[in-house]
Assembly symmetry: C2
Homo-oligomer: 243 residues x 2
DNA sequence: ATTAATCTATGACATATCCAATAGGAGAAA
DNA sequence: TTTCTCCTATTGGATATGTCATAGATTAAT
């Protein structure tokens, strides 16, 4: 039973910019259905084109690039509200893969109609560009994390960002949220070895800062976590459009 | 004496996707003038909005974020053909600063007219999104470099990418191109200390791979450089629109 | 001319992080 | 149950890279 865009549970969250009635109506037409996938499902394949574009309704996943050395760079974590497949829509092929790490529910769009969105709905085209710009900004922040932070700091800031985003999405309860990744995923995202990631996680746990076990992230000392993560004061979460 | 978009020296390079006559005509109107700046000029300021957007015609610069620790993360190098200020156009404020490191010549656009581009020229809106997606892809690659490569590899791949791009722009002559940055800039881009960057550069020079001195990058052994940089076979340069 | 400022260069030392190896736990498959 | 596989955990030793300190080279400022 597909949810109507009108009643989209994400749409009214303060994290997302509001959308006019006519835009929602177009999205309704643009949307071709919903998709539920199991953990481990590959949604997009690096180097291929995809006939479908998605918006995440529920669940999490990750974007990653496979490197020449056989290693994997996790570009970022995918959470509800994220748009998947912009590259496939606009360039010829995807430059990274996308995989579900938990069960996911996705809004499905047909990339054949991608151009009509630009032609008939400049507001939505604008939103798409906006989304892309936000993504670009977040990647810039990740770059700064990898470039200038130590192991603990990287993990702390990763936790902080995920937790903030999770809170904005209503996924946090009792300072806990579901975080369905393996330690290897986090390691690949932060440019750390698995061993070092493991040790650093143990340290954060022992120090009573944050604990991530059994797929559950628990923030024990928010202040200290924020200090370690060196969060730049005012920043906070950036509003973004939901498509 | 401003160059007409018709005769834009960049437009016909194979690096850029072709543009229809009517699009060029609109760009001509959209363009409000040209700007020449000296090395060291700050073009955009993190946290502020900018009334102007630019496309680089000549010269180089860099985008960077200032971090809480007072350090600086160079997000990327800015070369001819790059569009500056997308974030200012679409979000409220810039998330990074942009500075000229050589003399630059820029096409100037008024951000007041930004929305009219989306409204009246869906093809150009599409191109803007495309540009943003390409940028996003490149940042993903940088992330992979910082995440998984050693010092030499980082410098080698940085040289390789800049050199490839420079070649596509016709900036290479006798395996040399102008690269107007300080070692500190490169260090801040690659997440290395200045000292280590300096030593690694010396090593690449001593090994007869590449030499970067006095603002000139010279590729001595292209094959070896590519090997060290671990360039994934087919990749090559991605075509992008020029706006 | 002299001084100051900025960038590049080099050495010695400290350490965060990687790597190889091994083991335990939990769940899936048989 | 037993076996297998995947993930987490922990140790000890190796090393790439960071930090501190100093000096020469070049260019700008007085």
């Amino acid at each position: 039973m597909a949810v109507s865009c009108q009643d989209c549970p994400l749409r009214n969250l303060p994290l997302f910019t509001p959308m006019s009635q006519s835009e929602v109506a177009f999205m309704e037409k643009f949307k071709t259905g919903e998709l539920e996938v199991e953990p481990g499902t590959t949604l997009m394949m690096e180097g291929s084109n995809s006939p479908q574009l998605y918006t995440v309704l529920e669940g999490m996943g990750l974007r990653y690039k496979s490197m020449a050395s056989g290693e994997r760079q996790v570009v970022n974590m995918v959470l509800p509200g994220d748009f998947i497949g912009l590259q496939a829509g606009v360039m010829k092929e995807m430059q990274h893969s996308v995989e579900a790490t938990s069960a996911m529910k996705l809004c499905v769009f047909d990339s054949k109609n991608f151009w009509s969105l630009f032609r008939d709905h400049p507001e939505l085209a604008y939103d798409l560009t906006w989304i892309s710009a936000v993504e670009e900004h977040l990647l810039g922040e990740s770059l700064a994390v990898l470039g200038h932070m130590t192991g603990v700091q990287r993990i702390a800031s990763s936790f902080f960002r995920l937790y903030s985003r999770g809170a904005a999405l209503g996924l946090v309860k009792d300072a806990e949220m579901h975080l369905p990744y393996r330690q290897q995923d986090l390691a690949d995202a932060l440019g750390l070895s698995l061993v070092h990631t493991n040790k650093t996680l143990a340290k954060l746990r022992a120090d009573g800062v944050a604990s991530w076990q059994g797929g559950m992230l628990k923030i024990i000392d928010y202040e200290r976590l924020r200090d370690i993560a060196q969060v730049d004061g005012g920043a906070g979460l950036i509003k973004r459009p939901l498509i």
